[in-house]
């Protein structure tokens, strides 16, 4: 207990170092837990959202049939930043990504991309501005990497769907960016999990959009391949200036690879900000139902969670 | 308190079981009487009663003969075959843990029917072989081919597609035999319906004698396999843990269903959808998924379904007769569409 308190204090110290701290407490579900969290963490200042947001979602309500998933969610995706959506199962993080990428029409609210409401953009226009890689995509059988990546040019190709010179260039560049040149004629089915995910990433990159949205790009991958993919995303963000919005399951991955984290719970955003401002034992306890410590990664200096026990069973 | 809840619960369970037996039974009684009474000529109930209780009347009139030699065997054949199909459906669905397992969708029915068409049109190829035995062998071959080739027979979509492709395959071959055979041997369209769609119209006592020994073995065996089915439903690991050899049990259960389905195909052809759908109706009646209850209720539901299809086919467009196999597809098909739709939605969720 004393150790935890110590760590908590350490967190707060770290948090004070961060300048873009923001915790949006606006849609907290009422209840004893929630108030407890507000009481302990309200010292976090609510800073204005980043003024240049590549994508902005306003007051989103979304539902599958009668099942309401999102309830009045506001999201800002900073230009040139890696934004990670995290939250427990069923918190609506994938749904929010789908709404932001026009895969799902919200019941209420609007998503603004470069100052335009995406509901007014055609599917094709949307594909020229934002690339999305859905969760666990499945390629048809007998398809080479290059064939797969070529699909990324679907929205851009010229009349009669001819692949033009600039399309070939984009495809080759995308394959090169993910480092699959040597494998470009291989069948996608024969690749390893990490290579396959890189091929799918190349497909999205071939769209040559300023924004890339990824829905849990590391599912079904082992730890090595997970890092391989995430490091690649980070490098693309840095070298190409790509804005990245991704859903991640693993909090530690999100903390080490994202600039900005957004925590969802029960269809509402609980908190958002830099990893150090988000990773707090009380928040983890409230959102994920775990008792956890947050320490600093000895190598990267990013926050690292160590979960000790679940609190949901006892309550 | 808990025991009281359990008792009340089991009373509810028993009540639903009672309903599940009584409702099909009432349907069977009503339709059976309708079948005895209506037709060419219509007869009154007294005549029917006399025909049933008095096997050797002093003066044999036309109606008496008609009821004893045509209508009673037809109803009985429909009931027995329907009940057998209802049992087969439960056996296959619960042992393969696939709600769509059905002799038709597994290719067994059409394969057996193809052999039936071949050997009943050309009996000289293998003279003296009992028809159900032919169906049994052909059914085993067709079923083995499908199961061994598919490996994962559990994916419901794959089962449906395989079934559709296989019935197309065997159906075309059966048609080819019917096209090649001389007309006086096939009798034209009647044979087409018997072997491709399934029909009860050729019912005679002789058919009942043919299927009786098979069903006398098969029906009790099926009713006794409820416990094994219950265990298999829980999955192979758990069943093994409970002391059951899943592979051997499954083979035995499939053998029982083949023993039941072979005489049915020999007598009335590959009637579709009854084995698929009767267990689903039964599960709709019941609260628990206890296979022992499902087996009994499904047998009654299957009998009622087939009798209903045959009655409608015989009387709706009287005097023209539409084979029962067509009516089961037309009547049960839309219901099956709904069930499958719901099942797929549940799988997606």
């Amino acid at each position: 207990m004393t150790r935890q308190d110590q760590l908590l204090q350490e967190d707060q110290l770290h948090q004070d170092d961060q300048d873009d701290t923001s915790i949006l407490n606006r849609t907290l579900p009422s209840g004893p837990q929630a108030t407890q969290f507000q009481a302990t963490d309200c010292q976090a200042t609510t800073s204005p959202p980043p003024d240049i947001s590549a994508l902005r979602a306003q007051a989103i309500d979304a539902a599958y049939g009668k099942l309401t998933i999102l309830n009045g969610v506001d999201l800002h995706v900073g230009r040139g930043a890696v934004t990670a959506l995290v939250g427990p199962n069923g918190s609506g993080k994938s749904t929010l990504l789908k709404v932001c990428t026009k895969l799902l029409a919200p019941r209420q609210g609007a998503v603004v991309l470069d100052g335009e409401d995406i509901s007014r953009l055609s599917t094709r226009e949307m594909a020229k501005r934002l690339a999305i890689l859905p969760q666990g995509p499945v390629a048809p059988a007998n398809l080479t990497v290059r064939d797969l990546v070529e699909q990324g040019r679907y929205a851009q190709v010229g009349p009669f769907r001819m692949i033009r010179r600039q399309d070939h260039a984009a495809i080759s560049r995308a394959i090169e960016l993910v480092g699959l040149q040597a494998l470009s004629d291989r069948d996608v089915d024969t690749l390893s999990g990490g290579e396959r995910q890189r091929a799918w990433l190349a497909l999205a990159l071939a769209q040559e959009t300023p924004i890339l949205a990824l829905d849990e790009p590391t599912t079904f991958l082992d730890i090595g391949h997970q890092l391989e993919v995430l490091e690649l995303v980070r490098e693309l963000n840095q070298s190409q200036g790509l804005t990245v919005l991704l859903v991640l399951h693993d909090l530690n991955h999100a903390a080490s690879f994202a600039d900005h984290m957004v925590v969802l719970n029960q269809g509402a955003i609980i908190a958002s900000g830099s990893p150090w401002s988000i990773m707090h034992p009380p928040l983890l306890r409230q959102v994920f139902g775990v008792t956890a410590s947050v320490i600093s990664d000895p190598v990267t200096q990013k926050p690292l969670i160590i979960a000790h026990s679940s609190t949901t069973r006892g309550e | 308190m808990t025991t009281a809840v359990l008792a009340a619960n089991s009373q509810r369970v028993r009540g639903r079981m009672f309903l599940g037996v009584m409702i099909p039974l009432l349907v069977i009684l009503a339709l059976g009487l309708l079948n005895f009474v209506r037709g060419e000529p219509n007869v009154n109930l007294a005549e029917v009663w006399r025909a049933i209780v008095d096997p050797q009347p002093v003066e044999v009139n036309h109606a008496h003969f008609l009821i004893r030699e045509l209508r009673i065997p037809r109803v009985l054949l429909g009931l027995l075959c329907g009940a057998a199909l209802g049992l087969v459906g439960v056996l296959l669905q619960d042992s393969l843990r696939n709600p769509l397992a059905d002799p038709g969708l597994l290719g067994i029915a059409q394969g057996a029917s193809l052999a039936m068409a071949l050997f009943s049109i050309y009996p000289e190829i293998m003279p003296g072989l009992p028809r159900p035995l032919i169906c049994l062998v052909a059914g085993i071959v067709a079923g083995l081919a499908v199961i061994s080739f598919s490996g994962t027979i559990r994916d419901p979509i794959r089962v449906i597609l395989s079934g559709a492709i296989l019935s197309g395959f065997f159906g075309v071959l059966t048609t080819a035999i019917l096209l090649l055979a001389p007309y006086e041997r096939t009798g034209g369209l009647g044979a087409y319906y018997r072997f491709v769609a399934g029909s009860v119209s050729a019912a005679e006592w002789q058919y009942l004698h043919m299927i009786a020994p098979w069903l006398i073995v098969g029906i009790p065996a099926a009713l006794l396999s409820g416990r094994a089915l219950n265990l298999l439903q829980l999955g192979d690991e758990l069943a093994t843990g409970a002391g059951l050899n899943p592979f051997r049990t499954r083979v035995a259960l499939i053998a029982i269903s083949l023993i039941l389905v072979s005489p049915v195909i020999a007598a009335i052809g590959p009637v579709a959808f009854i084995a698929l759908f009767a267990p689903h109706i039964a599960r709709g009646f019941l609260i628990s998924s206890d296979s022992r209850q499902t087996l009994i209720v499904s047998a009654f539901c299957g009998a009622a379904l087939l009798l209903a299809a045959d009655t409608v086919g015989r009387l709706l467009f009287f005097p023209a007769e539409i084979p029962a196999g067509i009516w089961t597809v037309a009547m049960v098909g839309p219901a099956a569409i709904l069930v499958v739709g719901r099942m797929v939605r549940r799988r997606e969720a």
Partner: protein
């Protein structure tokens, strides 16, 4: 894992891209090789189909009969003409069904889908049979153009029905679409059987037609078929890229800039029209749409821009071969040899029987491969 493309190394990269672009052109030629092989195969079977029959004709004889009939014997002219029509029809029907199969497999994202089992063929067949049995008595000319229209309508109606039932539960998912297609096909099959009850003396002919037969091909039917396919061609050209992108899943297709529902409708309608064109001329021919796209997928891959031409040519070759067998294999001879009494009217079996004989085992083989 390193990123090779950095802004400061731009010129170098461009040359690399140019090099890839060049090798890409070669790669495309290489990928087209199997297509050329299938084309050759189809052509070989096509000339064989014209040459082989009750009288064997050499290619020069056929050529003379068709180009300069005044120099050819009457026999040569008749045989060449009839066989040419029949071979063209077999090729055309096979191409249409192979294409429809490739489109539907992509649409349903299921390698077992084909027009035969998803209710499309059955819709066309049922409409045609019902029209023949219950429809008004028409002159042969009227029949020749009404029947195709009716069966196209039937295929579309069946597809629409499938679509509407699938939509009852919300979004049109491929899985639900395919299952409902199968069951709608089953129910329509029952309707066909009822119609057959009233067919009277046409029964035998209709049953033959139900399994698909090329025996009654005429030039007029061929022209009608050609017209039907030509009308469908623009739609087909629209359908190919859409079906191609639908293979990757709904979210992917949508993310790549294709709205899913209209794309699905276009692909389905194109497949229906092609199937109807084939069915109304030769009947309920099966298995081509299943087998041809599969065989070709092993050689040219899943990309529909290559697979559709491949499956079309492969389907054409398949039907040509099957019809060659159907035309020349006389079951009566075999029956005599085996001492089995046969129907004296049945000189040959419909081509659909041979396609089923070929397709059934192939399907079992497919199931075995899919296990892994």
């Amino acid at each position: 894992m390193s990123i090779t493309t950095m802004p400061e190394r731009m010129p170098e990269t461009l040359t690399a891209i140019e090099m890839i672009s060049k090798s890409e052109r070669w790669r495309r030629w290489w990928l087209a090789m199997p297509l050329l092989l299938v084309l050759c195969l189809a052509l070989v079977w096509f000339s064989t189909a014209i040459g082989v029959g009750s009288v064997t004709l050499t290619p020069p004889q056929v050529w003379r009969a068709l180009v300069a009939p005044e120099n050819a014997t009457r026999h040569e002219i008749v045989a060449s003409n009839a066989r040419l029509a029949r071979a063209l029809m077999a090729l055309g029907v096979g191409m249409a069904l192979g294409t429809a199969g490739a489109l539907l497999q992509a649409l349903y994202r299921n390698p077992l889908a084909d027009p035969g089992i998803t209710g499309v063929t059955q819709g066309a067949v049922t409409a045609a049979v019902a029209w023949i049995v219950f429809g008004p008595v028409l002159t042969p000319t009227q029949v020749s153009w009404m029947l195709p229209a009716v069966s196209a309508l039937g295929a579309l109606l069946s597809a629409t029905l499938t679509w509407s039932i699938a939509r009852l539960g919300g979004r049109v998912e491929p899985v639900r679409l395919i299952l409902i297609g199968v069951l709608v096909g089953g129910v329509l099959g029952a309707v066909t059987s009822v119609a057959l009850l009233y067919a009277g003396e046409d029964t035998q002919a209709l049953i033959t037609w139900l399994s698909g037969s090329l025996a009654s091909v005429t030039w007029q039917k061929l022209r009608l078929f050609g017209a039907g396919v030509l009308i469908t061609l623009p739609l087909l050209l629209m359908a190919i890229p859409r079906a191609n992108i639908l293979q990757f899943g709904d979210d992917m297709a949508s993310g790549l800039g294709q709205s899913v529902t209209p794309a699905r409708a276009i692909v389905l309608v194109a497949a229906c029209l092609l199937t109807a064109a084939a069915v109304c001329t030769v009947g309920g021919i099966g298995f081509v749409g299943l087998v041809a796209p599969h065989l070709l997928r092993w050689f040219v891959g899943s990309d529909l821009r290559r697979l559709v031409p491949g499956a079309a040519l492969g389907g054409g070759a398949l039907v040509l071969v099957a019809d060659l067998v159907a035309r020349n294999l006389r079951p009566a001879d075999i029956g005599e040899w085996l001492n089995i009494p046969l129907n004296t009217n049945a000189i040959t079996l419909p081509v659909g029987v041979y396609l089923a004989l070929l397709g059934g085992p192939f399907f079992l083989f497919l199931l075995r491969r899919m296990r892994s």
